[in-house]
Symmetry: C2
Subunit: 317 residues, 2 copies
């Protein structure tokens, strides 16, 4: 099992978390959230999305958020821009990085965005060209890269062909997203391995969801195959299918658990797990949400040792 010495943890909560929250978060609270994440030290923060307000009403204040956040030197502030119009707006709002989006499932694209794969891919390439012309970093998300609720398993050949086309267009940084979190470690490991074998000059990230409970296994599988960064959301907000709670719906993997796991595995992230946990507590309070992480519920080595000191006569069964 290969583990890298160092990876980046990308925090997507302000965009991917807030976009599906069932309430409006005032601009000033969004700014506080991003500033708190900057303080915790995330190297990349996805701040907002430049999409039509009718499509994602929660992110309609994208420009205002970008205007008011306190930018820390060295941190990459990222904005989602699925098309040319979004990329122009993102550039005007002075993001450091644009993230584009396409989907490996035609059925999902049709249902969700009423687009064909060709249309989505063309829009992503247009957004990339604008980012490139303006000297901004660009990364492309490939959603439903492993498994889709409508199509089931996504053929690896299809994802490889997509990556090849984007690479031909000049895109070198992409990330694979399970999107519903039902992927399995063998598949994750195989797809990352295949893409790096075929295209050694690209850089791949992994956007982690946890509906299946196998997220940590998928993380290890992705790292083993060379994933260069991981994406998650503070408190595990967002990214969940709108499924009933009886389905145990869980979405984005919490960054406070991700950082802790990397630290335990001696994979450097430049982040302090306790500082990130403190940020998750502050943000949970700010947004009035219950964090979904193990760390926030005390499943940390420190908490268990404290329990041990306070309960010298009880014991694990």
């Amino acid at each position: 099992m290969y583990l890298p010495e160092q990876i980046d943890i990308v925090e997507v909560g302000p965009r991917d978390g807030l976009q599906s929250l069932r309430k409006w978060v005032p601009t000033e609270d969004k700014v506080r959230m991003v500033d708190r994440l900057s303080q915790a030290g995330f190297p990349v923060i996805e701040v907002t999305g430049f999409v039509h307000p009718r499509v994602i009403p929660n992110l309609q204040d994208a420009e205002a958020v970008c205007e008011r956040i306190a930018r820390r030197p060295g941190i990459v502030y990222r904005g989602l821009a699925p098309n040319a119009r979004g990329a122009e707006r993102a550039a005007a709002a002075r993001v450091d990085e644009i993230v584009g989006l396409t989907i490996a499932s035609a059925s999902y694209l049709k249902k969700n965005q009423n687009m064909t794969p060709e249309q989505a891919d063309a829009q992503a390439i247009e957004a990339f060209r604008i980012a490139d012309a303006k000297g901004l970093r660009y990364v492309l998300a490939i959603g439903m890269a492993f498994w889709c609720p409508y199509e089931g398993l996504i053929p690896q050949d299809r994802v490889q062909a997509m990556v090849g086309r984007f690479r031909d267009a000049g895109i070198r940084r992409l990330y694979l997203a399970g999107s519903v979190g039902m992927e399995d470690p063998r598949h994750v490991n195989a797809l990352f391995t295949r893409l790096y074998d075929r295209y050694p000059d690209i850089e791949l990230g992994f956007h982690v969801h946890n509906l299946s409970g196998m997220a940590t296994a998928n993380i290890v599988a992705a790292l083993d195959a060379g994933a260069a960064w991981l994406e998650g959301a503070i408190c595990g907000i967002g990214g969940g299918i709108a499924m009933p709670e009886t389905l145990g719906a869980v979405g984005n993997f919490p960054t406070e658990d991700m950082v802790r796991m990397m630290t335990l595995m001696q994979v450097q992230t430049g982040l302090d797990p306790d500082a990130v946990l403190a940020a998750s507590r502050d943000i949970a309070r700010l947004l009035d949400i219950a964090p979904r992480s193990h760390a926030a519920h005390g499943s940390t080595r420190e908490a268990v040792m404290k329990w041990g000191r306070e309960h010298p006569h009880e014991h694990p069964a």
Copy 2:
């Protein structure tokens, strides 16, 4: 990342699950539980424990359970026997395999069993000799093999030395248990690798807990390093520290999730994930407990696709 073609899933619920349940389960229900697990097809079932009834009152009917279960040909019925007296009782009750127990943390052993490591190890070897003399299979559990709430990280040298001593005594099959589930994948992978490198003629299993949320990563890490079997408990019963619920206490990893994960990873177990899930539902009803698995809460590919068919216009965020 290496994955084996085949592994065994060992079901420990009737012993490790019921021993810490906060209620008495009548003998006839224990028998029903074991029979239901036999019907699901587990290759090894840990039926009960031969310990003093004052120590584990819930298992005081060990002989009666062994007498009344319907033994299926090919299934290994296992009994816990921590010492010579237990091994004699287990043999008389016609178990197929005896599992012994020692602990890699002296602090834990002292607090929990008021024994020294030397005493615990000597008892385990006595139990092994009895099993061996009677032609029974024997496997030795090493608890707290990675991390202990009282001692923190357990040095790998210590576990290696223990395994070496047991191997010198003739024991070739052992399993490593995190016991509280706070181990991390790098450590798990490293310890399995080291033990197999040093002692190529032993066979190692991994007893999986999930307090940290990293159980699936630890499973992948153990398999990558050659773990020959995995141990879990139906419905995830038992194995939890007696911690307050706010600590998110979770214990044994549910076998219904374990089998499903192996199937998705194309690791053969000889078990049908749907049959195991059905068994978990029946056993949850029998014991009047809430199953802790993802599968029981509908986080399966089948359930998510069914949701997709029924909600064609909603979509994952």
